[in-house]
């Protein structure tokens, strides 16, 4: 009998077409993977829905006044979070100012031949360790190292520059400045890591052409590399900002939990996340609902910021895929 190409027993040969069972298995697993992918989308909707449901009574009771009022009075059950929204955004902005500059500088330092590759690797490890240190440990360090260190500086600044709104109060202990500083240190690794990726994405030929023109390193970095990587750096800053918005424990320990709106760096303030962390464990039913409403507000703010950052990041990636 003449043998044909397909005439072999399934399971005997070294290579063989998949058996029916395997094809069914494959189809089954493909179906399962669709379910899995949906489940993560479902998870995020579930999170939104659960927090929304818990917040619903407070939303009905306080409405939009919750976002514009400035009181948090447990006894009168009158709750609103404008000072916390202000504190969240202000502290994150200040942190971004410090952490952003430091993070991008570190990224430049690591990618543009400032130090030997091995040293750069070590330095990167150190920055990554900064990200591994738990938030509460930063808080503890902030209380017992940073605040005593800052106090004389703040005192001098207040004494001579109290006409500048940033320095108009005395630093009595916890406050915006120590909180924002710790926050800056905490977002530094995030900003640095994403910026490093942004600089690495620049095609080698761009760098070669730049240095080939006879530029100095500073010129190359400021005139070519930073503008080229700018959208990636922007993504790094936005995502770092998103991280800062949601940070909780270090801020709960350092910001002073005071319900006020002030431009001053040395007066105590509050953030949405630290309000929740410090009030929730002892909250009654009505206050807990109000806190859930605050959680929803925080969720929406961080979502929008993170979404923005990720969209910029993806757009950047697509741009460079074209060049490479």
């Amino acid at each position: 009998m003449k043998k044909t190409l397909f005439d072999h027993k399934i399971g005997k040969g070294i290579t063989r077409p998949p058996a029916n069972l395997e094809l069914y298995g494959d189809a089954g697993f493909r179906a399962f993977s669709i379910v899995c992918a949906w489940s993560i989308i479902f998870l995020i909707l579930f999170i939104l829905w659960m927090i929304g449901e818990q917040a619903l009574p407070a939303m009905e009771r306080y409405g939009l006044h919750f976002l514009t009022g400035t009181t948090w009075d447990v006894n009168k059950e009158n709750f609103s979070v404008l000072p916390e929204i202000w504190g969240t955004i202000y502290s994150s902005m200040l942190a971004l100012l410090g952490g952003g500059v430091l993070g991008i500088t570190v990224a430049i330092f690591l990618t543009e031949n400032f130090i030997h590759d091995r040293l750069a690797y070590l330095f990167r490890l150190m920055i990554e360790l900064l990200a591994a240190i738990p938030s509460v440990v930063y808080g503890l360090w902030g209380i017992y190292v940073l605040i005593p260190l800052l106090r004389p500086v703040a005192h001098t600044l207040h004494e001579y520059f109290s006409w500048i709104p940033f320095f108009e109060t005395e630093l009595s202990g916890p406050g915006m400045a120590p909180a924002a500083l710790v926050l800056a240190i905490m977002i530094l690794p995030t900003v640095a890591a994403i910026s490093v990726d942004a600089f690495r994405q620049i095609p080698a030929k761009v760098k070669e052409a730049t240095y080939g023109m006879g530029t100095t390193r500073a010129e190359a970095i400021f005139k070519v590399l930073i503008p080229t990587a700018s959208s990636g750096l922007l993504a790094a800053l936005v995502l770092g900002f998103g991280r800062a918005l949601g940070e909780t424990m270090a801020l709960a320990m350092l910001i002073g939990n005071s319900n006020q709106i002030s431009l001053s760096w040395f007066s105590p303030a509050n953030t949405l996340a630290s309000l929740m962390a410090s009030s929730f464990p002892e909250a009654g039913k009505v206050e807990a609902q109000a806190l859930m409403y605050a959680a929803l507000v925080l969720l929406l703010i961080t979502f929008l910021v993170n979404l923005g950052g990720l969209f910029i990041q993806q757009a950047t990636m697509r741009k460079f895929e074209g060049i490479k």
Partner: protein
Amino acid sequence: MKDLKTPKQLKKEGWKGLNLQKEPFETRSLTNSAFTACAWALALLAAIPLFSIVAMLLKNGGSRLISAEFLSVLSDLPPAGFEAGGGIGPAIVGTLVMVGIASAIAIPLGILTAVSIKMLDSGSILARAAHFIAKVLTGFPSILAGVFVYAILVVHFGYSAVAGGVGLAVLMLPTVIIATEEALGQVPKRMTDAAFGMGCTRTQVMWKITLPTALPSIMTGVMLAVAGAAGESAPLLFTALFSNYYLSSLSEPTASLSVLIFNFSGMPFENQIELAWTASLVLVIIVLILNIIARAIGRKKF
């Protein structure tokens, strides 16, 4: 083109030629040096907090840990107000148990989800949406994970170790998914192509080639996620609360190192504050060990 002079003509007129050398005291050279110095200064500045934190941890937390009674510090119950001594035993056990629960939930689920996303056509809207949402979730504020688990579990069953574990799992899940996806993406295409060429189905390629090859990288990501979970405290405030005693069942409030540090850091008693430092040192050591393991596993690259 007539008015263009040849080099010979130019030389005759006294032209010395173009100087392509960088002059050391030109403005742009000076700017460059200044910039280099600034970059060095800022980079070193960024490294200072790490050294400061490590130094303070060793100085304030080390004395108790490196002493004859370190075993009792690691196993005793936390002290009340004016009491001397005491330890952080329940918190260590609680942290380990809750991280264990979180890992048991998040690691298999995360890896499976990442495999699933990679199984879909990478261009499909579903795959891209799932990937994007996992990414968005990595930037999710940790305290909201606590609030979420509070709403689904604590409201009905009360504070418990299980709820704490689930809270940490919600935080670990996106990290595990993204790490696994990246690891799977690193597997050389020629390996999977070869397998497809042998007539394997997608499922077979995924389970027999891609996943085993990517396993070291996946473990790295997983270890980093576990380390992150060990240091989390915000979600635990809402889910596990705190307890002064060793946990006897998984459905009761549970102590954890991070919440102990939070609680003790604000206390007026010297002894508690010292214990908070000791607990921080122990926590950082745990996190560091997990980080080192992660890096040790992940060294092998393609």
